[in-house]
């Protein structure tokens, strides 16, 4: 199976079987044929199926060690010739998984049938753990499970590629028709296979349009859905994040699970790891977010800007602004282009929103020199966040007097008055520096601290007005427009030289795209859709867009790893 597109561990895949190929997520019996279970005890020869299950022993999830060991010995004795699918009994004793993985590896299976999936799905931790181990170890393996359609989105999101449909017919026998509300409510017309078919199309559709996580987090059909997603979010956040493409579109935070989205985790860690305050900062300002994005375009931020300008004049170029928001926590002004999200605003903040925001703010404030004062122009829950952050960081925060919202006349006056106490002077150099910093920080976000410096050093140049082109010694390094960037091979070389970041190493002549099989090494920080440099002998020979995550490129053996956009 080749991975075409990711959304978290879930993926759109392409399976090639001789001259027949199909897309995943897929259904056995619809998109491909799958042999019935093949018992080790009374084995069958490979038949005329797309996928032939090798003889196996369908151990139960709760099988004790003694029995597993008896079975394992026998499975090593099987003649696997002609079989391309392996029945993997899911086991609570996960210490034995490795043994099964060795068989899968040794005989190079193309698909794995995840045994006991209907039992496993009720064991939150094991479901996620086993899927993850399988998925990460064998990126090109098609994982087949047997689950009801209402589990499809969640299972796909966590790594399942295909579903057996044969057991669904039992619902038809029982006269239970699947509905949008199953398993809470059933219809009377048997419809299992149709419903499964429809559902899988919709899941594919969702993957294509980057909406899979929505489905998963907003449709909790059973307690198992909620439990599994919670375990995945809290205990396997790295697994989800690793395969989550770099955010391009607005994220809609809808349910309480939204605040645990990988995008949120990523944002928090990028603020911590990839944000440094501009060097000339002499005052930090904290503002609340606005519904309109980027915040600068909103009415409230326009009013703040005016008040700040009024108080500080040229000194504004020495102020640095942080915007507080949920669930992203803290958005440095330069990154406001990147914080694309929308959230339910009912005025009720939960503890789960306040605490992480405060913690992130505290850590962010620690990035500024101790003597830089901090002024907060906030109201309601934002005040609570800032106070808590103040306590956590031990930094004093000066609060303006806010009444009737932050944009009331009185509040804005208080902002101006408060700021007047600080006498800041900004020079023309400050302004230019900040103009450059606005651009640099975005590159830092994508590639790490220093990337901005690399593509736009102090002696660099910016040309254009809307679409900014960046130059170093008359060679273009990249472009910047409203937070959207591109990098030239030359720019990427500079990033590579100074940061050793976002590289994919090859040792052949670059012609078209880079295939997974050709990737020697890759930066593990790479996420799907990231801009990466294709490096050969320390030279960037091309720039492209990652299809896979860095780690995955190394393990994967099939499909495109990097879509090359420009060759050097």
């Amino acid at each position: 199976m080749e991975v075409i597109k990711h959304e978290g561990p879930g993926r759109l895949g392409l399976v090639r079987l001789g001259d027949y190929s199909f897309r995943t997520p897929a259904l056995a019996g619809v998109d491909f044929t799958l042999s019935p279970f093949n018992s080790f005890f009374h084995p069958s020869e490979p038949g005329d199926y797309d996928f032939n299950l090798a003889p196996s022993i369908p151990l139960g999830f709760y099988t004790p060690a003694e029995v597993i060991e008896k079975a394992l010995g026998r499975l090593w004795s099987v003649n696997y010739d002609g079989f391309n699918a392996f029945y993997l009994p899911a086991l609570r004793r996960t210490e034995y998984l490795e043994e099964f993985f060795k068989i899968i590896e040794r005989y190079n299976f193309e698909a794995v049938y995840l045994g006991n999936s209907k039992i496993l799905v009720k064991e939150y931790r094991y479901f996620v753990k086993i899927l993850r181990e399988l998925r990460e170890r064998f990126p090109n393996l098609m994982i087949i499970a047997d689950l009801e359609p209402f589990f499809y989105p969640l299972a796909v999101y966590l790594g399942v590629d295909a579903f057996d449909t044969r057991s669904l017919k039992l619902y038809d026998f029982e006269g239970k028709g699947f509905t949008q509300y199953s398993p809470f409510l059933w219809g009377k017309e048997p419809n299992s296979l149709d419903f499964a078919r429809e559902t899988i199309l919709l899941v594919r559709n969702a993957l294509e349009s980057g909406k899979l996580r929505y489905l998963v987090e907003n449709l909790f059909y059973t307690q198992y859905h909620a439990g599994i997603l919670r375990i995945a979010d809290l205990e396997h956040a790295d697994y989800l994040e690793k395969y989550t493409p770099i955010q391009k579109e607005t994220v809609y935070f809808i349910s309480d699970a939204s605040i645990r989205r990988p995008e949120v985790k990523r944002w928090h860690s990028r603020v911590l790891e990839r944000f440094t305050p501009p060097k000339n900062t002499e005052l930090v300002l904290l503002f609340p977010c606005s519904a309109k994005k980027p915040y600068s375009f909103s009415r409230s931020h326009t009013l703040y800007r005016r008040a700040v300008k009024e108080a500080l004049g040229s000194g504004t170029a020495r102020v640095h602004e942080l915007i507080l928001t949920s669930p992203f926590g803290v958005v440095p002004r330069e990154w406001e282009w990147l914080a694309k999200y929308d959230i339910v605003v009912t005025g009720h903040w939960s503890e789960e929103e306040i605490k992480p925001a405060a913690e992130l703010l505290a850590k962010t404030l620690e990035k500024y020199p101790k003597d830089v004062p901090i002024v907060a122009h906030l109201d309601e829950a934002y005040v609570e966040i800032a106070r808590l952050a103040g306590e956590l960081s031990g930094r004093e925060i000066i609060f303006t007097r806010v009444e009737n919202g932050t944009t009331s006349k009185e509040s804005l006056n208080s902002l101006t008055e408060t700021l007047r106490e600080f006498h800041l002077e900004g020079t023309k150099e400050d302004r230019t520096y900040r103009y450059f910093e606005n651009i640099r920080k975005v590159f830092d976000f994508y590639f790490g601290i220093g990337a901005g410096e690399a593509v736009l050093p102090d002696n660099g140049h910016v040309k254009g007005s809307k679409m900014l082109r960046l130059f170093v010694e008359n060679q273009q390094t990249g472009t910047f427009r409203d937070g959207v960037i591109s990098v030239t091979p030359f720019g990427m070389q500079r990033i590579y030289d100074s940061l050793k970041a976002y590289w994919v190493k090859i040792d052949f002549d670059l012609r078209g795209d880079v295939f997974a099989v050709g990737v020697n090494e890759a930066d593990e920080r790479i996420r799907p859709d990231d801009i990466v440099g294709v490096v050969r002998d320390e030279t960037v020979v091309g720039v492209g867009k990652a299809v896979l995550a860095g780690e995955e490129m190394i393990r994967a053996k099939k499909g495109v790893a990097v879509k090359v956009r420009k060759r050097a």
């Binding site: 018992s39 009374h42 151990l59 139960g60 004790p64 079975a71 039992i119 057991s167 239970k176």
Partner: protein, 324 residues
């Protein structure tokens, strides 16, 4: 410890069987921690060790139940272990019991049970000679002719070879062989389970006089129970039992094919859709067993049968049957 009578097949004819559970200490495999995975019989063994005399008295008491009544009777003695295990019953005790039986004319069939490795020529011969004109069978738990299943799914500790040897000894010693087969060990789909019994019958047939198809029922404290509780194992469908019995009787019309579907129609026993009709099928199987007449099981109402056919045809595993 108990005994009871039940309508059953006696040496080929309809009659009554007297079942006696002997209060021995039970199977030695269980005592050394190697019990069969489905078996909890030895947990029913008496807590206090009975003297050998007391055991004989117990048999005597049980036999009172049929004394002087009109036969034919079969006496089937179970020990939660092996009748031929000297650790359970001294040779002297066995002899005494057989002597009691020899005196009873209405008893036409005697069955004892033994693990195959405990079947010794002398022991069988001695007993056979005490009851020369009775149908004397040694029942051996083969369970399956597939050694892998015997090990992985049953933990039997015997192979098919062991069974063959025991069968040959038994016959040579003048007794007949009753072969127990287990319908649906764990880790088998319904389909494989049926297949396994059929293959086992074919392989064991030359060494067997009577087949007894034991249909799994869930016993307390066993591995089977653990898997069953978690919905990873489902006792076989009654339709599977019916299918196997019909097939076996047709294939080997001259062999006795017995089956007593314990717990039929309950969750822990063989069942179809747990409707009332399940019990009807259970009774039909007993009737067939007693009479060996296929009419009892060939004309059942196909209730729930389509579902069963589907599961068997598609080789669905038991965990796949879990539903919301």
């Amino acid at each position: 410890m108990t005994y009871w009578t039940s309508e059953d097949n006696v040496a080929g004819k309809p009659g009554t069987a007297l079942f006696i559970i002997l209060p021995t200490i039970g199977c030695y495999r269980f005592r050394i921690g190697k019990a069969c995975y489905m078996c909890a019989y030895p947990t029913a063994a008496p807590k206090v060790k009975w003297s050998q005399e007391a055991i004989v008295d117990y048999v005597r008491e049980a036999l009172e139940k049929i004394k002087g009544k009109k036969g034919p009777f079969a006496v089937r003695m179970f020990t939660s272990g092996s009748f031929l295990d000297n650790g359970e019953l001294k040779p002297e005790t066995r002899r005494k019991i057989f002597e009691l039986l020899a005196e009873m004319e209405n008893v036409e069939e005697i069955v004892i049970e033994s693990r195959s490795e405990l079947v010794r020529y002398d022991a069988v011969k001695e007993l056979a000679e005490i009851v020369p004109d009775k149908h004397f069978e040694v029942a051996i738990g083969l369970e399956t002719a597939n050694d892998d299943i015997a090990d992985v799914s049953i933990n039997k500790g015997n192979t098919f070879e062991d069974f063959v040897r025991a069968s040959e000894i038994t016959r040579k010693a003048g007794a007949k062989v009753k072969t127990y087969l287990l319908l649906k060990p764990i880790f088998l789909s319904e389909r494989t389970a049926i297949e396994d019994v059929k293959e086992s019958i074919i392989k064991a047939e030359p060494y067997t006089d009577t087949f007894s198809i034991n249909i799994t029922d869930i016993q307390k404290g066993t591995l089977y129970e653990r898997l069953w509780e978690k919905s990873e194992y489902r006792p076989p469908w009654l339709w599977s039992a019916v299918e196997v019995l019909i097939w076996a009787k047709k294939k080997f019309p001259n062999k006795r094919i017995l089956s007593d579907p314990v717990g039929a129609g309950s969750k822990r026993g063989p069942h179809n859709c747990l409707t009332d009709y399940d019990r009807v099928i259970g009774r039909a199987i007993k009737k067939f067993s007693a009479t060996q007449d296929l009419k009892y099981i060939e004309n059942l109402k196909p209730e729930c049968r389509e579902r069963w056919s589907y599961i068997v045809e598609n080789g669905l595993l038991d965990w796949q049957l879990v539903m919301w």
